[in-house]
């Protein structure tokens, strides 16, 4: 027997490590109200062949998955009470054809009318009806004009469409339209063997390939009851921290560049390159792709890897400190970042925003601490939190996290135990697993169900960006259009991770 929120009942056997409860409509609705009251955070909302699932994260009660059977392909909308669920429900409608009863926004989201079928993951049919043009939200008023940007942007970035309504220079409303990079990952996952599925998961968002591979591996290990060898845990964390370092440093440079301060960008570019080269030297791939597998890791640190990384730390620490100094002492740069793109703490909390977006706006959640998976349970680190919620705060969270990661890498190099790299994979066995892992951008959730042959029956991957993209729309309001690139970069949401 288990208990979560007000719910008493039998958890589904074979779902690990959090309990999964099959709930009725009443319990589903009451969970929606709990979310709306801020009693817990939404970890994810996704569909399966005959039900919808919702991951709930509660600081006290823990975590659970609620499943509502919906044989008639309808379920009560969570989004009508709790806006962070709106886009997830629109995606469910596109992919599965399930109707969210009561939902206020029923426009398609990932489906742009370009697929030859509808509801590819549900009861799909050939597309016959013509697709209605997308209806952007109306904005009317004197002196308003619209600026449409994308999907192809001016820089080397991912595709997405932004529609600004501006009054003079000030943004009155931003509306995002995403889904351009939708590749059908979850459809490709279905029926895939574990190693193909692991590769796919590492290609959901390239900048977070380690985080995704780790989340997928942990979910599959939970489902199969695999005990991962100690050394593998430590090497995984080492890769995760290198990924965080490279991305945070790259971001700090890119944000400064968008504030027209190219010097920091150039130096951060050098540091990032050095980290990627060290990763390549140690694990054979600059982004450390396909290095984490179900059961452990595929590569060991080479004999001289430790020395190489220690030398990297030696070089990085003072170099980075000087960059931080420069950032801190350049008034013209601060002029652009301080007070720009403010995200209020209530909103970060309500949306369960992870990563630097949440932590720069007072939300102290970090899966490495809050869920303390190994080896983070025995490592010493701080989770920096600020409350200003502006671009500057998002830069400082990254700076502080770089410092923490530098210390974590050192601790890992000093303490990583010797031993085997990968557990034996049990012969075909089914099960369900879930994992929440802290990537550089925030918490990545992976939920999966394996069939009796050990193949993936259903796998859902939820990028942290789902709960950050909507907040960018809010943070930009009242800022000048010219500050959008700066705000956008400080959020650095993933298009591909979101579009799947």
């Amino acid at each position: 027997m288990g208990r979560f929120l007000d719910l008493e009942g039998a958890a589904i056997a074979g779902h690990r490590p959090w309990p999964r409860f099959v709930v009725d409509v009443e319990q589903w609705r009451s969970a929606a109200h709990r979310l709306a009251d801020g009693a817990c955070a939404l970890g994810g909302l996704w569909a399966d062949s005959e039900s919808v699932h919702m991951a709930l994260i509660d600081a006290k009660a823990g975590r659970a998955v609620f499943s509502l059977p919906c044989p008639d392909r309808r379920f009560p909308s969570i989004g009508q009470f709790h806006p962070p669920a709106i886009r997830l429900e629109r995606a469910i409608a596109d992919l599965f054809g399930f109707v969210a009863d009561g939902a206020s926004d029923t426009r398609p989201w990932l489906d742009h009318g370009r697929w030859y079928l509808t509801h590819p993951l549900g009861q799909w049919t050939q597309r016959t009806a013509p697709f209605e043009p997308y209806r952007f939200l109306p904005s009317e008023g004197e002196g308003l004009h619209q600026i449409a940007v994308g999907p192809v942007h001016a820089g080397i970035i991912e595709p997405g469409h932004f529609r600004f309504t501006a009054q003079g220079e000030a943004v009155v409303r931003l509306e995002e339209r995403l889904g351009y990079t939708h590749k059908g990952v979850e459809w490709l996952m279905a029926g895939a063997d574990l190693s193909t599925a692991a590769k796919l998961s590492g290609r959901v968002s390239g900048d977070s390939t380690v985080a995704y591979a780790l989340a997928f591996a942990r979910a599959s290990e939970a489902a199969l009851g695999i005990e991962v060898p100690d050394r593998a845990h430590w090497l995984r964390a080492l890769m995760g921290e290198l990924e965080r370092l490279a991305n945070h440093i790259g971001d700090i440079g890119a944000i400064c560049n968008d504030a027209s301060f190219a010097l920091i960008h150039a130096h951060c570019g050098i540091l990032r390159e050095k980290i990627l080269r060290a990763a390549d030297f140690c694990f054979g791939h600059r982004l450390m792709r396909d290095c984490i597998v179900s059961g452990g890791v595929a590569v060991d640190l080479p004999g001289d890897g430790r020395a190489r990384l220690l030398a990297l730390l030696e070089e990085l620490r003072p170099y980075f400190a000087r960059i931080v100094d420069l950032y801190d002492n350049t008034a013209s740069l601060q002029d652009r970042t301080v007070g720009t793109g403010i995200l209020r703490p209530e909103l970060a909390e309500r949306f369960g925003a992870g990563g630097f977006v949440g932590r720069a706006s007072g939300r102290a959640f970090d899966a490495r601490r809050s869920l303390a998976y190994p080896p983070y349970d025995v490592l010493a680190f701080d989770v920096p939190v600020l409350h200003e919620g502006d671009v500057n705060a998002r830069v400082w969270i990254r700076i502080r996290e770089v410092e923490q990661s530098l210390s974590l890498v050192r601790q890992i190099l000093e303490r990583a135990p010797e031993g085997s790299l990968c557990a034996e994979r049990p012969h075909a066995a089914g099960g369900e697993g879930v994992a929440l892992v802290e990537g550089f951008r925030g918490d990545v959730l992976v939920w999966l169900r394996l069939d009796g042959d050990g193949r993936v029956a259903r796998c859902h991957l939820r990028d942290p960006s789902w709960f950050q993209w909507p907040l960018l729309e809010i943070a930009i309001e009242g800022n000048i259009v010219a500050d959008f690139p700066l705000c956008n970069k400080s959020f650095n949401c993933s298009y591909s991770g979101h579009d799947l």
Binding site: P159, G184, V185
Partner: protein
């Protein structure tokens, strides 16, 4: 700032004290210079298009601009509009949702133009090729002149790929729809 600045000036320039693979780069730079001059004067403008990538290929494309590879010193630069470009560098499998945008970008690029498919996905759709949401590699949508393998390709591979493009000039140029 002054300190960091002075240190940077006092330090030997980064591209010159590179580890072995980058010695290659120095040679590449000289070659490219000659080839680019023949074709287009001193420089070649590249427009990047993400046709649905996982963003891994973008990271390495970005890296081409850092001080180690510093692609501008050899006359290659990224431009903001396809109308200014000689080369389209396309990454990712072409998703159905991006197909039209890619076609339109190609049409907006003046002749003569070259298309580089960068990364395994851009070459043949990679792991995503079976999907209902993917049209295939870049070739499925617009003509491709050069393919650069890798997932993602390393910056050095991107550089030598662009080199190869310049060394094998095409007799014909693209015009009209694919």
């Amino acid at each position: 700032m002054r300190r960091l600045f002075l240190e940077s000036i006092a330090r030997a320039p980064l591209p010159e004290k590179l580890p072995p693979p980058d010695a290659e780069l120095v040679a590449l730079a000289a070659e490219l210079d000659a080839a680019a001059r023949r074709k287009l004067g001193r420089s070649l403008s590249i427009r990047h298009v993400d046709a649905g990538s996982c963003n891994g290929c973008e990271l390495e494309t970005h890296a081409l601009q850092n001080a180690f590879y510093d692609l501008e010193r050899i006359g290659l630069r990224f431009v903001a509009s396809p109308r200014h470009a000689d080369v389209l560098l396309v990454t990712g499998p072409v998703t159905r949702n991006m197909r039209e945008a890619l076609e339109r970008t190609w049409q907006a690029t003046p002749d003569p133009k070259w298309v580089v498919a960068a990364g395994d996905c851009a070459i043949d759709g990679g792991l995503f090729v079976r999907s209902y949401a993917v049209s295939g590699g870049v070739e499925a949508v617009i003509p491709v002149d050069l393919r650069i393998r890798g997932c993602p390709p390393r910056p050095m591979d991107l550089l030598s790929g662009l080199m190869a493009l310049l060394q094998a000039p095409r007799a014909t140029k693209h015009d009209g729809r694919p």
